[in-house]
Amino acid sequence: MPSDYSSFTNVSGENETDATAYDWISFNFTERPQYYVQPYQLGNATNTQNGATQPIFLIDNVGNVNIDLSFRFESALPTGITVEGNASCSGTYTSCQSSSIELNTSYITLVENISYTDSFANITLYSNMSSEATPTTTGITLYIKGVES
């Protein structure tokens, strides 16, 4: 994550219940409406995502098989708020979702068949807030699933 791209959290959870937790992130809106807001790691503005050059998640496939990476929210987002995700990849892979796609409560695959050798995925998230949004501080769990291709 942005605070240190050389310190990786090893993901060992094999189901959603046991999913490996890592740092929380936040979208801090300042006006209404507001579009394409980038997240902070641990609420710290100095550890903010900055597009693909400083993605919120840098993912390394440390297994011994190629994997797909998909994302979903545990529950619906607050009214007036959407989150879009996209990805850029290095190394060997079949596809990488370069254009933003809206995330929801079903798994959306952003990366397909990324190799376990010298291949990385940069995941970037953006959030939009329409005028319908009401004042809130709401936390919703985002799951990342890596599954053998």
Binding site: T9, V11, S12, G13, E14, N15, E16, D18, A19, T20, A21, Y22, D23, W24, I25, S26, F27, N28, F29, T30, E31, R32, P39, G43, G63, V65, F73, L77, P78, G80, I81, V83, L125, S127, M129, S131, E132, A133, T134, P135, T136, T137, T138, G139, I140, T141, L142, Y143, I144, K145, G146, V147, E148
Partner: protein, 200 residues
């Protein structure tokens, strides 16, 4: 000796198979990570104002300080006598065709365009000229504690009149002003009236 070596090799093989089987069960073809994503949406107490010339054309209020207050059209009380006890209603931009006519045609028609209920206050920046009294009242659909009683306008923010303690985002506020005179000196003078919203 040969027999011993064979047994040892067999044990190693068995151990290796046992270890491989164990690792096979420990590994998975699916892994999950999770984080909590917080969405922080601040309160927004914006509002807009329409005036008698056109109640469908609203001015969006973006000023967040008194110094940066959004200006709306000027209004005037055009007295015909230095002592005029009857309450007078203001004109928008000095035009009699755009006069206030009670709550049905208020001088300020306020729409809560924010994302939260809002408290509204009104005040004048400094005392009005001697012999002139400036009053205010307000009506609304379902707001809380509207200032329905005609009340002398407070001077400065610290003495502001509360027009309503809570106007929902779906509601509107009608603000009406009145003034009369008692032995007021002739002349033209002006004051600034402020409307203030606060998220509640």
């Amino acid at each position: 000796m040969e027999h011993k070596k064979m047994k040892s090799f067999l044990f190693s093989m068995l151990l290796a198979v046992a270890l491989m089987t164990s690792l096979g069960f420990a590994a998975s073809n699916t892994y999950y990570a999770k984080t909590v994503v917080y969405f922080n949406v601040p309160s927004d107490a914006t509002f807009s104002i329409a005036m008698p010339s056109d109640y469908a054309s609203f001015t969006s209020i973006t000023g967040t300080t008194e110094g940066g207050a959004t200006a709306t059209d000027w209004i005037s009380f055009n007295f015909s006598d230095g002592t005029q006890a009857a309450l007078q209603e203001p004109y928008q931009l000095g035009s009699a065709g755009n006069a206030q006519a009670g709550a049905t045609q208020p001088i300020f028609y306020i729409d809560n365009t924010g994302n939260t209920a809002e408290k509204f206050e009104i005040y004048v920046d400094s005392s009005v000229p001697s012999g002139i009294s400036l009053y205010v009242n307000a009506t609304c659909g379902t707001c809380t504690s509207p200032l329905t009683t005609l009340t002398l306008m407070g001077v400065a923010e610290g003495s502001a009149n509360v027009l309503t303690t809570s106007l929902a985002t779906t509601d509107f506020l009608n603000v009406t002003l009145y003034a009369n005179t008692s032995a007021a000196a002739d002349g033209i003078s002006s004051r600034t009236v402020y409307l203030k919203s606060t998220a509640v």
